[in-house]
């Protein structure tokens, strides 16, 4: 099955991925052992693509995003694998180079906008900071440009108001002079998005952007992200535990469990015909309007303790199609299915 993405081919003609993770592994040493938060994860993100990463809490999805930007909190570390952005490996880059990248080429928005915005600063200033850091609006030439650069300031304000209007914040001029706590949840998330987009990045990493919001606001934010993707061609990596959100928004989906990639493919085939038992379980959990009256059947068991994983497939204790081989192999290899899907399951 073929799906056309917004940007099918690069000017050069090849489908060169914008962002590619190759076998990324991020670990956290803990008292009880080494936790592999991200375990050999690989995927590709193309220009303008909308990728969704789904999983329960603790599946490693947020850490993946942090690893891309190399913001993994101490004592976590990226121990192997590569993160290739426009062909260059980010893991190998210096701290200074990473700083130039963050916010400008790859930007991130966080789950709870109330805690992600600094309560002590005006919203407009926080957006403006992104511009300042990356010198998006260069200093004007002139004798006093070191001290007060009115021209630059004016240009920055314009840009900030533009960005705010772009994300749908009403009356940008007044709103910019407000503090985060004076905004509603939805507005705060829009402001966060404005910060992220200020320097027009090519990739937007969204860590559960809708989780802390009401359902109606969720829809608005998703529409906003969609608009940004269409208008600016920004690739979006949307991390969430909510399959419904992914189904609505993304083109490609990755399912993660215990730090490993379980299934990957284009969204519609995966949703209609999930291959991995975990994905199937997740879809079964979603209540559907119009379907026959079935009981919602949750996946039995609990999220595994990442420091103490069972041998073989990490999902085996909870799997309904488990086979004896599942706990006997060292690791379950990824199988590529004829339609291009990837599944990590011994059933295939």
């Amino acid at each position: 099955m073929k799906f056309s993405l917004e940007v099918e081919e690069q000017p050069g003609g090849t489908r060169f991925p914008l962002l590619e993770l190759k076998d990324l592994t991020t670990v956290f040493p803990t008292q009880r052992g080494l936790v592999r938060a991200v375990d050999g994860l690989s995927f590709q993100l193309h220009t303008g693509e909308k990728l969704g990463i789904v999983g329960e809490s603790g599946s490693g999805k947020s850490v993946t995003l942090l690893s891309i930007l190399r913001l993994v909190p101490h004592p976590g570390q990226i121990v192997s694998g590569g993160v290739h952005f426009r062909g260059e490996d980010l893991v190998a880059k210096s701290a200074t180079e990473m700083r130039h990248l963050r916010g400008k080429d790859i930007a991130m928005i966080f789950q709870d906008p109330m805690t992600a915005l600094n309560p002590a600063f005006l919203v407009g200033d926080q957006i403006c900071e992104s511009l300042r850091i990356h010198n998006a609006i260069p200093r004007s030439k002139g004798p006093f440009s070191r001290l007060f650069d009115r021209q630059r300031k004016a240009a920055e304000f314009e840009r900030v108001w533009e960005a705010m209007a772009d994300v749908g914040i009403p009356v940008p001029r007044q709103s910019a002079r407000r503090y985060p706590h004076q905004f509603s949840g939805g507005m705060q998330q829009r402001a966060l998005t404005a910060i992220a987009l200020a320097c027009e990045p090519q990739v937007l990493l969204a860590d559960e952007p809708t989780t802390a919001l009401d359902v109606t606001i969720q829809a608005q934010i998703l529409a906003l992200l969609d608009k940004i993707n269409q208008q600016h061609g920004t690739a979006v990596v949307l991390v969430t535990h909510n399959l419904g959100v992914v189904a609505e928004f993304c083109q490609t989906i990755i399912v993660m469990y215990a730090g490993q990639l379980m299934e990957k493919g284009h969204i519609d085939p995966v949703v209609e015909d999930p291959k991995h038992p975990y994905t199937r379980g997740l879809l079964r959990c979603l209540p559907r309007i119009g379907a026959r009256r079935e009981k919602i059947s949750p996946i039995p068991g609990l999220v595994p303790d990442l420091a103490d994983l069972p041998p073989g497939c990490p999902f085996s204790p909870r799997c309904d199609r488990v086979m004896p081989q599942c706990s006997q192999v060292e690791t379950v290899p990824l199988t590529e299915l004829p339609d291009g899907r990837l599944v990590r399951c011994l059933l295939y």
Binding site: N118, A120, H134, Y179, H181
Partner: protein, 336 residues
């Protein structure tokens, strides 16, 4: 707008100060024994007439509520009564000694903050490192140590044994310093008197450290714990995700929020500085208000003690007002 609110707060301190004055007045009346007898203690035989004169002079012959009224009226005018022993207006005596105390208090405050801020920040940023552990151990020691003992130990070490710093006093006897503000360090800078500057700094060193150590310890601890909490917040990660230099992440984003609870504690610590001031001045023979008060206590010079206590309380109230105003600048969620 803000200025109006500040003025409002200023006015709100008036009832507090009135209350303070009343409490202090009651203190004095608590004294067992007749104040006049105490005054006359050394004088030997005094005639009835003289006793009556004294009573009238100090209004002690009037009923209590009248005394209170007269006292309060005096306070509002700035008249704190007359000293029993020095036969001079209390306000004059206090004003005379105030610069010395102010200099010591400022010295301690500056020392305390200069030491506490970097330590608090670095300990939080590099948690569990050697710097952190050593600083926190030191801070713990600092809050368990009595200021007078620290002063004596420092004196023993630096003045007696090593002889690097002078033992007592504010400035070398022969340093001729022109007085502008009364603060020796400031005056020597203003008049370009290098010898006096060095001399006054050398004299200021040990007392400031003794007085400021406990405060530094407390502030360092609370700054560290606030920073630790703040550094865990999402907005700090966001600041990094924007590509901000780590130094600015810490100083611009994190510190700003961590200072909020810290500033409140600093305000309270000013009270400790004011109290410890008396002790440190006694230890180092510093000619300030604190030492004057202690001497006054022993000579039973109640108006002087009373006046000084009110001045201290007033300073404390003002300091906390400043802290409150500062707080609203730091925390936009709170308005005055």
């Amino acid at each position: 707008m803000r200025a109006v609110k500040v003025l409002e707060r200023l006015l709100a301190t008036i009832p507090i100060m009135l209350g303070v004055a009343i409490v202090v007045f009651l203190f004095m009346r608590l004294t067992p024994g007749d104040p006049v007898d105490i005054m006359m203690g050394e004088a030997g035989y005094v005639s009835e007439g003289e006793i009556e004169n004294l009573r009238r002079e100090f209004n002690l012959d009037k009923p209590l509520h009248v005394q209170l009224y007269l006292f309060l009226a005096g306070v509002i005018r700035g008249d704190l009564g007359n000293s029993y022993t020095k036969h001079a207006p209390v306000s004059e005596l206090i004003a005379e000694r105030l610069p010395a105390t102010l200099e010591l208090a400022l010295g301690a405050l500056i020392f305390g903050l200069v030491v506490a801020m970097p330590i608090g920040i670095v300990s939080a940023v590099k948690q569990y490192s050697v710097v952190d552990r050593v600083s926190m151990a030191g801070a713990f020691l600092g809050i368990s140590m009595p200021a007078f003992w620290l002063g004596i130990i420092l004196m023993l070490l630096f003045s007696v044994r090593l002889q690097w710093l002078p033992v007592a006093g504010r400035i070398d006897y022969d340093a001729s310093l022109q007085a502008v503000t009364g603060l020796h360090v400031l005056d020597s800078i203003l008049t370009g008197n290098k010898a006096a500057l060095i001399s006054s700094l050398r004299h200021l060193a040990l007392p400031s450290v003794s007085l400021g150590a406990a405060m530094a310890a407390t502030v360092a601890r609370i700054l560290r714990s606030s920073m630790l909490e703040v550094l865990r917040q999402d907005y700090v990660t966001l600041a990094r995700a924007k590509g901000l230099v780590e130094f600015l992440v810490v100083t611009k984003h994190a510190l700003r929020n961590a200072l909020i609870p810290t500033v409140t504690v600093v305000g309270l610590q000013v009270g400790v500085l004011l109290g410890g001031n008396m002790i440190v001045e006694t230890v180092f023979g510093w000619p300030g208000l604190g030492r004057l008060v202690v001497q006054a206590i022993f000579s039973r010079d109640f108006p002087l003690v009373q006046g000084a206590v009110m001045v201290y309380a007033f300073t404390f109230v003002m300091a906390n007002l400043i802290v409150d105003v500062l707080y609203t600048y730091l925390n936009p969620k709170i308005t005055l």
